[in-house]
């Protein structure tokens, strides 16, 4: 299972299409971190794609939340953002890749799927 957390539903759908093709996994889209966190009561995902500027609490709040629970701290998280963020500053929160929304290509998603889902 892969989660996409992005309040731009259309953008999330684009990434979801690629993920379904590359991984064959089920993909769930959430517009904010609160809904995604609640959904994890039924089981945690294998991978999360996260936007930073979200409705309500931002992506950083979500990262803190994930890092604080034993069952979510190890989930690989991929940031997708228009902001210029450095992965090195976010690695301690489980961030494995930072994709710039203006530059990301399907090959990035494929590579991430192969590395973290197999």
């Amino acid at each position: 299972m892969v989660y996409i957390i992005d309040d731009d539903r259309d953008f999330a759908e684009c990434v979801a299409r690629m993920l379904r093709k590359f991984s064959g996994s089920k993909v769930k889209i959430f517009s904010n971190g609160i809904e995604a966190t609640m959904a994890m009561n039924d089981g945690v995902p294998d991978l999360i794609f996260l936007d930073i500027l979200l409705d309500g609490p931002d992506g950083f709040t979500f990262l803190n939340e994930m890092a604080s629970y034993s069952d979510t701290e190890k989930i690989p998280i991929v940031i997708m953002s228009s902001l210029n963020l450095q992965k090195e500053n976010l690695e301690s929160y489980g961030v494995v890749r930072v994709l710039n929304k203006a530059e990301m290509v399907p090959g990035d998603v494929k590579e991430i799927v192969e590395t973290y889902i197999g």
Binding site: C14, K21, G56
Partner: protein
């Protein structure tokens, strides 16, 4: 100068969002599941481009406001609302939302520029679509209030952030302001609506509800109104 630069940066950022999306939609064509999916992606690309172009056109209109190119005239406000609804209903439906209109006004004509009024209502509605929850309706409500004609666009979703409400309450949005809640949408739209309202000597404002927000514009009735109210033309 600094605020002008900030304004340009916010405008550039907001216009970047639809371009990013178009880029991903173009990639998505290779991952479409069937012909229906391809058609849906193409429609989405057209509607995203249309909205982005409208924003760019509105920004260029702001630059031309001082030249006085936009004449004030009697405008049938219900007809403008109908036109906006016609243009946006499909987009609302695509996004699992509804757009409804409620007319409570007796006054039919307002003093405005049709093009600018259309943009204000369009921006308010687009803002409502972005901010509302899925499967909710947004409402355009026209009413008479204190000798003016008032149009409210009400959405049902998260309450307007307090700092944004304070900015609007203080008066006009003087520069494109990034609204942290959803940077891809309404900061620029509100700025555009604010500028156009100011030009037409109309008032704009926002009301916070616990379950959403109303943005409104209050317009002066046209002096030609009495002819219509007396039934000479209806």
């Amino acid at each position: 100068m600094e605020s002008e630069v900030n304004g340009i940066l916010v405008a550039a950022h907001e216009l970047k969002a639809p371009i990013n999306l178009l880029r991903q939609l173009a990639f998505s064509l290779d991952f479409a599941e069937d012909d229906k999916d391809i058609k849906m992606i193409q429609n989405k690309m057209i509607s995203v481009s249309d909205r982005a172009l409208r924003q760019v056109q509105d920004l260029t209109k702001i630059a031309r406001l001082e030249d006085g190119l936009f004449e004030m005239e009697p405008v049938a406000v219900r007809a403008v609302c109908d036109d906006v609804a016609r243009e946006l209903r499909t987009l609302f439906r695509f996004n699992h939302r509804r757009l409804e209109i409620e007319y409570r006004n007796r006054t039919r004509l307002v003093s405005a520029n049709r093009e600018l009024l259309y943009s204000i209502i369009y921006n308010f509605c687009l803002n409502a679509m972005h901010y509302s929850d899925e499967e909710t309706r947004s409402e355009m409500i026209l009413s008479d209030k204190n000798g003016k004609v008032r149009l409210d666009v009400r959405d049902y979703g998260p309450a307007l952030p307090l700092e944004v409400w304070r900015t609007i309450r203080k008066g006009w949005v003087e520069k494109p302001t990034s609204i942290a809640m959803r940077p891809g949408s309404s900061g620029l739209g509100l700025y555009i609506a604010s500028k156009f309202s100011q030009y037409m000597k109309a008032d704009v404002g926002a009301i916070r509800h616990r379950d959403g927000t109303s943005f409104f514009v209050e317009l002066m009735p046209s002096r030609q109104m009495s002819l219509f109210e007396d039934g000479l033309y209806y």
